[in-house]
């Protein structure tokens, strides 16, 4: 049974209804095969764009949906409960627009944002490198100023939508100081930009992940977002929002696994009773439900802080940590509930379990989330604020 939800407005409730209908009718029938064959569903993202689901958290004046994170994250959750790759792609796309929307000049935003938010174009972001994942400031990709252009050289690892996207938000070093990093919007057809063959991953096969190679890629300076040296700040600000996206994806994924497990436990009999009537198994399901609801609660709490314009970095890290660890446990237990059948590819729960694993890794590993949380504990907090 899908999650019960409280939405702030009637149109947000209609939006969730729309997403459920779309997910059931359009995503559910295609997910298993695309994941089995490793097919990236480019046309699904066009559909999402037409429905207005790719720009939900951005202002209406720039072609977005003007929705608070509280609503946008619940949309991601609904998508993820049916097809994690599509939800992750939606979150990555939103993240790829973040720098442009928050730090782009009026001219830059007017020029590129409408097509991005309207879904005409698909975005990707290039932060990680083969030797700089958790510590992005160790990146070596360089952008060297040459007249009115920058020339970018290096390799960006793990790029979601790598080779499929229409443009890449790229972080590259513009000086030798550790923080001397800048942010660029690079079109996919820029000369010298190529994608390696996609990674062979454990799961999330419907989402392409590839290393992007920059061989003297010339980018006009007007494609730099923010000031020189401001790149890392832009990337990290985006990551807070991105972490909430992944927390929502993980919560939805866990909800999907839980729903499958409950449905199976209502059907399957052992020792003359439905297995859900055996307390030992029913309590496994109860723990799964508690885990999913806790994940949702902390994720939406962090979202509401963000929507209120309050600091939410610590809460975003907690949400990412709790939601993805819970998703790992819930999906593992879902396999357990289905017994031997759960371990086969005839049922989707083994796939959910493989998909949950990556959620603990990307958008900052869960060790890095603990790092952020523990550091934040040494700073003053605990302000009492009145809701806007």
């Amino acid at each position: 049974m899908p999650a019960a939800r409280v939405l702030p407005t009637p149109e947000a409730a209609d939006l969730i209804r729309l997403v459920r209908e779309f997910a059931t009718e359009e995503l559910a029938p295609r997910a298993a095969e695309a994941e089995a064959t490793g097919t990236f569903p480019r046309e699904v993202f066009r559909q999402l764009g037409q429905l207005g689901l790719l720009g939900l958290p951005y202002p209406e004046s720039e072609g977005g949906g003007g929705q608070p994170y509280e609503v946008y994250l619940q949309v991601l959750e609904e998508l993820a409960s049916v097809w994690a790759s599509v939800a992750v792609g939606t979150s990555v796309h939103a993240l790829s627009c973040f720098g442009l929307a928050t730090r782009g000049t009026d001219e830059q935003r007017q020029r590129w944002l409408p097509d991005l938010l309207g879904g005409e174009l698909l975005g990707a972001y290039c932060l990680s490198e083969p030797h700089a994942g958790s510590d992005p400031a160790a990146m070596t990709t360089r952008a060297v100023r040459d007249g009115d252009d920058y020339v970018i050289t290096g390799a960006k690892a793990w790029t979601t939508h790598g080779g499929e996207a229409d443009y890449y938000k790229v972080l590259a070093r513009t000086s030798d100081d550790r923080g001397g990093i800048s942010c660029f919007l690079v079109p996919a057809d820029a000369e010298g930009l190529t994608a390696d063959p996609p990674e062979h991953k454990m799961g999330l096969m419907g989402s392409t992940t590839a290393t992007m190679r920059f061989d003297h890629v010339r980018v006009p300076a007007e494609r730099r977002l923010g000031d020189e040296g401001e790149g890392l700040k832009i990337a990290l600000a985006g990551l807070d929002a991105g972490r909430l996206g992944i927390a929502a994806c993980a919560t939805g994924l866990a909800q999907g696994a839980l729903d499958r497990a409950v449905a199976y436990a209502e059907e399957r009999e052992a020792f003359g009773r439905k297995i859900i009537e055996h307390e030992g198994l029913a309590f496994v399901l109860a723990d799964m439900e508690a885990a999913v609801q806790s994940a949702r609660a902390i994720t939406l709490h962090a979202a509401r802080l963000k929507d209120q314009g309050l600091p939410y970095s610590r809460e975003a890290s907690i949400a990412k940590l709790v939601a993805t660890d819970n998703a790992m446990r819930v999906t593992t237990d879902a396999v357990q509930v289905l017994g031997g059948y759960g371990y086969t590819k005839d049922f989707p729960v083994e796939r959910y379990m493989r998909e949950a694993k990556v959620m603990q890794i990307f958008e900052g590993t869960n060790q890095i989330q603990r790092l952020v949380i523990s550091r934040s504990l040494r700073k003053p907090a605990g302000a009492i604020t009145v809701q806007k």
Binding site: L15, L18, E21, G52, L53, G65
Partner: protein, 260 residues
């Protein structure tokens, strides 16, 4: 071209559908409802025609308070305005009375070039309202369209029958009912959801339409449901182990149920 689309709010076929115990009418209040899926094809057909040219799509529904959801969905898909006829006296109306109320509502809306309906509702499934409505409005009725084109003052449809495919023409104004083969109804977009909030919806009572309460409702109905009983729960199937005579047993089973 101005088009009126008749839409019905029906109990969700996925939900537990039932009747009211007090008067044996369809329970529309305690069951989740939605815009009849067969009417989505009618809305889509109308939107396509208007988008290709100009004009307005007005959706009209006759139903209780919740039927506003059917109008809202059509407006979210892109229709321009809605009319909701609601009146307690309408409760229990048969197809004849429903067509009367719809006809009066359409007259009050104006004189559309086209009235488009689904081929039947997913709850009543009688499929008679379109022709009754055409009769009352004095319009040619061209039903079960699986293709529709309009050229000037002429509408052409394709109707796929069991033994033949017919091409039928009608001069406008006309009433056209469409099948689920005619198109693929669009999802509302989020922009459509937002835009629908600002679209006008009028609420009319029977008095607004000059219809007497006695002409409609359960008491005026020509047919009545005398009794209903819940369908018995599905019994456990029988598993026959094939010991070389599986085919024979299967044939016997089918024969016992008069399938063969």
């Amino acid at each position: 071209m101005n088009i009126v689309v008749c839409v019905k709010y029906v109990p969700d076929a996925q939900a537990e559908r039932t009747f009211n115990a007090s008067d044996n009418t369809t329970d529309r209040e305690n069951v989740d409802g939605l815009l009849s899926e067969l009417d989505e094809y009618a809305v889509e057909a109308a939107l396509k025609l208007v988008e290709a040219g100009e004009g307005e799509v007005t959706v009209v529904t006759v139903g209780p308070d919740q039927a506003a959801d059917a109008i809202k969905k059509a407006l979210q898909m892109g229709a321009d305005k809605g009319v909701h006829v609601k009146d307690d006296a309408i409760h229990g109306s048969d197809a004849i009375a429903t067509s009367l109320v719809l006809a009066e509502a359409i007259k009050k809306i104006g004189s559309p070039d086209l009235v488009v309906t689904g081929m039947a509702s997913t709850d009543g499934t009688m499929g008679v309202v379109p022709t009754m409505l055409a009769e009352r409005l004095g319009l040619p009725a061209v039903t079960y369209a699986s293709e529709l084109t309009v050229d000037g003052a002429k509408a052409t449809i394709r109707r796929d029958g069991d033994v033949s495919t017919q091409t039928i023409e009608a001069t406008l104004p006309a009433l056209i009912s469409v099948t689920d083969q005619i198109n693929e109804p669009r999802y509302p977009s989020f922009k459509g959801i937002m835009a629908a909030k600002k679209k006008p919806v009028e609420e009319w009572s029977l008095a607004d339409l000059g219809v007497e309460a006695g002409q409609v409702g359960l008491d005026a109905a020509w047919t009545k449901v005398e009794a209903f009983a819940a369908r018995p729960p599905r019994s456990q199937g029988e598993i026959v182990t094939d010991e070389g005579d599986g085919g024979k047993k299967l044939a016997e089973f089918l024969a016992s149920r008069k399938f063969i």
